[in-house]
Amino acid sequence: MRRMMVAFLALMLLAWPAVHAVQPDEIMSDPAKESRARDLSRELRCMVCQNQSIDDSDAPLARDLRLLVRERIAAGDSNSQVLDFLVARYGEFVLLKPRFERQTMLLWLLAPLLLTGGGLALWLQIRRRARSGADVPAAPLTPEEEARLAALMSDEATSR
């Protein structure tokens, strides 16, 4: 199944010259700002790629976005301002980590809800069953099994 991903990656390699993600000429002189740019890049989607962040992608668009991020950082934007700027331009699609909003609420709340809900239900059920005690009778044997059991018993009897 992974092969499809490979196919997509291959498509990318076909479509664009094989260059590396972050290019030496893109790197900012201030290491602190560069590290902020890298962190932000990992959260931004290369929109023409298959599920790649602009930090990983070779696509020209990813390079443009990386430069844009660095431009905004150099202009003194905070991290959230950079993200706001990109969302205003390209929509929520650009964020690899969706914001907590009406449309994405279910996605974010899924794990905590399932975990607490499931945990609670299980706990109650186990406790209830442990209290109620009585074990349930086993399923009755089929005729073949009865016959086999009888054979086994008689085997045992004769060998004794």
Binding site: V6, P17, L96, K97, Q103, L110, A130, A139, L152
Partner: protein, 660 residues
Amino acid sequence: MIAEAGHYALVLALALALIQSIVPLVGARLRDDALMNVARSTALAQLLFVGASFIALVTLHVNSDFSVANVYENSHSMKPLLYKITGVWGNHEGSMLLWVSILALFGGLVAAFGNNLPLSLRAHVLAVQAWIASAFYLFILVTSNPFLRIANPPIEGRDLNPVLQDIGLAVHPPMLYLGYVGFSISFSFAIAALLEGRIDAAWARWVRPWTLVAWIFLTLGIAMGSYWAYYELGWGGWWFWDPVENASLMPWLAGTALLHSALVMEKRNALKVWTILLSILTFSLSLLGTFLVRSGVITSVHAFATDPTRGVFILLILCLFIGGSLSLFAARATSLKQGGLFAPISREGALVLNNLLLTVACAVVLFGTLYPLAMEMLADFKMSVGAPFYNLTFAPLFTLLLLAVPFGPLLAWKRGDLLGVTQRLLAAGVAGLVAVAIVWGWARGGSALAPLAIGLGIFVIAGAVTDIVERTGLVRLPFATALHRARGLPRSAWGSALAHAGLGVALIGIVCETTWNSEYIATMKQNDVAHVAGYDVKLDGLFQRQGPNYREMIAEFNVSHDGEALSVMTPSKRNFTTRGSSTTEAALLTRGASQLYISLGDTTAEGTIAVRIYHKPLVLLIWWGPVLMAFGGVLSLSDRRLRVGAPKPARAKQRLQPAE
């Protein structure tokens, strides 16, 4: 001729599968042994014909018969023999043929080695296998026939995608499919149990080895795919939370849960309904993965809409099997009686917690993968769910899971003593805390959570050691007695301890790689030296070389550490002339579990080259962990108790009676 024979063999296999779908069920209804036994013969014959069909396609690829469209599109006469063979499953049609071949293989194995199964159970299982097989044979024959001919055969093929021409990709898909398709067996067993309306501890004992086999292959397959991505794609990433990766991770999470719940069922006759449901879900997720990958729906909803034949066909299969099996489950599950009571704090309780966490993790991946699609279709809202989301949601779930892992095996069945177990885990806890302190002292930079995560990893490993120490009585008893007890310990105990330790190992690798990875990106010219994590990497020069079906440019780097020359590293860039595309071949230098990683970028006119050098501390632990887990699985599989399987000692016992 070969192509037609392969095609015909596949048609015959479909016919056999159709017979196998119906006749054994009729036999079971009529209680006719002969009719039920038909399943055994047809399953073996299916294996023969599908195998023949697969060998036919391999032969076509090896012979470079470009009159067959599939060979023309994915092969090249100059390609090395290994990649001619692996190219068979490097494309849609061929990989589907591999899928059904493995399905037939598992069916054949059940037929051949399922002698200890009750006849009607085996008939039901094989019939359900045949339903799946029929659906996929039809899919291949109708939409994805690999044996189609071209009217005017070209002289040369279009070559296999260069990134796929790699040994990792040669082995990865078959492994993954052995895992995916292997879960079809537990699915068939579950459906058979529902159809028969009977399920007991013996059922779990029959299912567990099959599940374990599938799980081992899936674990190795995923690990191998991840390592391949790491060294072949050239930027040192090893997990991307790509939808296609998620498609393989979901069955793994569900399958891991299934392994554990089947254990409860086998030992304590509890969690029956849940185990059946998990068996169904695990294979459903495998099918869903097939759909996601094969239909192109993930790329975009629109790509799916433009060429929907394959997608719609698989979607139909998906709805039929998932919908059908879940309806059957809903109708019959209530008739399955729950057995074995237990207190919340008990081994069973711990395994239930394991199942809860793994299924929630699985649900998160499923949701994350499908949510953007649903949003785009239903609300016209385009959004992405990527690595940062999964990392954030997975971290707490797995932290909880890993904290609980050492407790599980130490708790007693039915009613456990949490305080007692905590005391016995004291040493492991202390080991974890010491690790936190040491890492805290040593670490320069990086997340404050990293030392804690490493402590957790050590705790899990030490917990696994504690489990073995407790079982053998290594500290309490004389050494000789402990050694004797260690020999007598069931292999499955060693297996589970190793598998749990593997989790800790992988965690440590993941944390070290992500936190203390050093990176050097620059343009270098001859005799330039890069300093990365204490290594001096000197570019000696650039060379050109001609390979069998590519030309490559090699850069030679001399690596030294503290003035001591270590090695020469030669990363390269390959240019594949037929497809006009290129790949980067990273060079790796392994030192212990750490690696130095060099990959090349573009050259400039002045003779400089863009270079990325990484030092990845303890990165190999990421894959040693899964290998350890799989090895634990193999040990567990070799446990006598699983091989002996169903209880039928009557005749053997008789022979052992002394003559009177």
